[in-house]
């Protein structure tokens, strides 16, 4: 919807009740992005899911600005709902705000769930906040969102975060991480990641992951990718991008299968064991978050 850019481009933007005004650093041109304009653009793009324009503040911000942004997001949600020209074809999701303040977030949840939208996103997280605060806000949000509508946690993320947040009740995720890290030469594997540019992979003739069915792992070795990454051929980046996306999709597919087959807690234990060497070695915040929903490691 353009909301996140209020954070990422905060120095080039100005927020008022009307909308957010962005200034181009190249030619000084200004663009006003209002809830109406955002929905208009998304209607033209024709995506199946569209997002409300929310008033987003960085999760490290404290004070009255957080409360202002939360209430404004509710008002902007209503404006987006009113402006939406294609509710039969495109699903408008609300975005829960309220920062790291439990009271503010609760208020936001109460208000937004009064609106009949097809889905809810959990926003304002996955910035610079501590993981301890992060999981508590996620859990709070999922506990108060309807069970029969998708819960989309924006900006997540790393494999561990995905698994834990599924346990906390989230359904959908998005993140630049797997493709961005691919472009930096990092391949995702069940034990973490391989920094393929490093010398240790120069003569490693195995694929990135023996069990991975992606085209990169079917055809190429770590050694070849290492050599290609040190060249100026962008194909290296594409090989890793394909693999990392496959990794993510495989992970979520395995998560789903374990849920359907009623063995999700075992899956989580296995996952943590592989990732951290031992389930008990997984980060404290993850252990606490999982415990809160009855999964012990």
């Amino acid at each position: 919807s353009g909301g996140f850019q209020m954070v990422s481009l905060v120095s080039l933007s100005e927020v008022t009740e009307e909308g957010v005004r962005f200034r181009s650093p190249y030619d000084g041109d200004e663009t006003l992005l209002s809830p109406e304009k955002s929905v208009e653009i998304q209607n033209a793009l024709g995506s199946d899911i569209i997002m409300q324009l929310d008033d987003v503040v960085s999760s490290t911000v404290t004070g009255p600005r957080v409360e202002e942004a939360m209430y404004r997001s509710i008002r902007w949600l209503d404006r987006c709902i009113a402006a939406h020209q294609r509710p039969d074809k495109q699903n408008l999701f609300a975005i829960i705000q309220g920062g790291l303040d439990a009271d503010l977030r609760t208020t936001c949840l109460e208000e937004m769930t009064k609106r009949d939208v097809p889905g809810f996103a959990i926003g304002g997280l996955s910035g610079g906040e501590s993981k301890g605060q992060f999981w508590r806000m996620v859990a709070l949000s999922t506990s108060r969102l309807p069970k029969d509508k998708p819960r989309y946690l924006m900006g997540v993320g790393y494999a561990t975060d995905l698994v834990v947040c599924v346990a906390l009740g989230c359904d959908m995720f998005d993140c630049v991480f797997p493709t961005r890290t691919a472009r930096f030469g990092s391949a995702l594997v069940p034990t973490g990641n391989l920094q393929l540019k490093k010398k240790q992979y120069e003569k490693d003739f195995r694929p990135i992951d023996n069990d991975c069915a992606c085209p990169t792992c079917q055809k190429h070795s770590r050694a070849f990718l290492h050599a290609l990454l040190h060249s100026d051929n962008t194909a290296a980046l594409h090989h890793l991008t394909v693999h990392n996306i496959a990794y993510q999709l495989q992970l979520m597919s395995a998560v789903r299968a374990s849920i359907v087959e009623k063995r999700f807690p075992d899956f989580v234990r296995d996952f943590m064991g592989t990732m951290y060497g031992d389930p008990t070695l997984c980060p404290t915040w993850a252990t606490e978050a999982l415990a809160s929903v009855g999964i012990t490691l």
Binding site: E202, K203, F205, P215, T216, K219, H220, S221, A223, F224, A227, L228, H230, S231, D232, N233, T234, A235, A236, L237, H238, H239, V242
Partner: protein, 388 residues
């Protein structure tokens, strides 16, 4: 392999921008790929330990492989050839090779063909002296004889064919000597070196080219390096050249352009009209030689292509080339490619490379068809009309 043909251009053993899967969506892929020693020499140790050859290492076991010394796109600095060694320039710096080091590297690579170590610097400066031209021939023959001898001592190396390199600068006498002497050796084919440059410099050397190929046996392939433009390709085919590099579509891609020239030398009357109108329009808009700075080539745009960065493509919902069967033309529009270029997305390079390769390979297919039906003159006229 059907000839005339082009070789698939690669960088560090991979088609530029393309994964194996993406590469294989391209129709008319050449049977042989070109690898460059300049991009692979620094990985010598790794390949030696790998043992199974460069084809398998890069994931192209199904293609024939030809290993050239240099990358035609990035000419290396002159002044590094001695009587004993030749240097190539990789991304990690200079790699100096004596004949034995060179053959050791080829032993690790195990390509089907490889260009022999040679002295290509007689054609580097504006006016070569007869002395320098003579030296290039002498040195290259010496390298060739040394390499052939080393090949005799190795079973692995005998599985590859050495391509003899014809040198001699712009001196007819030396060129003929180079051709005759090289032809006496048991080489698998011939590389005509020193004809690269621009269309103007090639034109002055066409006479030389004809004389050289006349000295070479008919039953061994003649490759040329540094010549890839459609008009130049046709001139060289008429003068006995069989195999070309396909770096031109790569250069076009790097400047954000798409090949659009027609090679349909016998279209139906309706198509002719549409095409003529199309060509007219493109020529009208193409200004005199535009210099487009890109990361890897400072080449000027040709009239065989359109520049997708131009604002006029912002709302052009046609494919790059109407009727093209490539993935890009079947799925995307000029407007989309324009958008990708403006937003600096890597996908622009991927899609443009797919189109430009397919278009170029289609051109070579039309050359072979034209030769079979004795219509090369028509094709040549069509290309000439479109050359700037």
């Amino acid at each position: 392999m059907d000839i005339p043909a082009c070789l698939l251009y690669t960088k560090t053993g991979s088609a530029p921008h393309l994964t194996h899967q993406t590469l294989h969506t391209i129709h008319g892929l050449p049977a042989m790929a070109q690898l460059t020693l300049s991009s692979l020499a620094e990985h010598h140790e790794v390949l030696a330990e790998y043992k199974e050859g460069i084809g398998k290492f890069i994931g192209m076991p199904e293609l024939l492989l030809y290993c050239s010394l240099h990358d035609p796109v990035s000419p290396c600095p002159a002044g590094y050839v001695t009587n004993k060694s030749v240097s190539v320039w990789g991304l990690g710096g200079r790699v100096e090779m004596t004949a034995s080091k060179f053959m050791a590297i080829q032993q690790a690579l195990q390509p089907d063909w490889f260009q022999c170590l040679s002295d290509g610097e007689a054609s580097c400066e504006e006016a070569t002296s007869i002395k320098r031209a003579r030296k290039s021939v002498d040195r290259s023959l010496l390298f060739l004889d040394n390499c052939l001898r080393l090949q005799e001592e190795s079973e692995v190396l005998q599985r590859s064919a050495i391509i003899g390199v014809i040198e001699g600068g712009d001196m007819m006498e030396e060129r003929l000597r180079s051709a005759r002497e090289t032809a006496k050796r048991p080489v698998g084919g011939f590389l005509l070196d020193g004809f690269q440059g621009n269309p103007a410099t090639l034109e002055t050397r066409l006479h030389l080219l004809s004389s050289v190929t006349a000295e070479l046996p008919e039953d061994k392939p003649r490759l040329i390096c540094g010549v890839s433009r459609p008009d130049e390709v046709l001139e060289c085919i008429e003068r006995g050249v069989d195999l070309f590099e396909s770096f031109f579509p790569y250069q076009v891609t790097e400047r954000g352009c798409a090949l659009t020239f027609s090679f349909d030398y016998q279209p139906n009357p309706e198509e002719t009209l549409l095409q003529q109108n199309g060509i007219q329009e493109e020529i009208k808009y193409v200004d005199q030689t535009k210099k487009i700075k890109t990361t890897s080539c400072n080449q000027e745009m040709t009239s065989f292509e359109i520049n997708l960065k131009e604002k006029k493509y912002q709302e052009d919902f046609d494919p790059l080339v109407r009727g093209c069967s490539c993935y890009c033309c079947k799925n995307h529009t000029r407007a989309y490619i324009h958008h990708l270029l403006v937003t600096n997305e890597l996908l622009a390079g991927v899609l443009l490379m797919m189109h430009n390769f397919e278009h170029y390979f289609g051109f070579f297919h039309s050359i072979r068809e034209a030769l079979k039906s004795d219509r090369l003159a028509q094709l040549k006229e069509l290309i000439r009309r479109q050359a700037s």
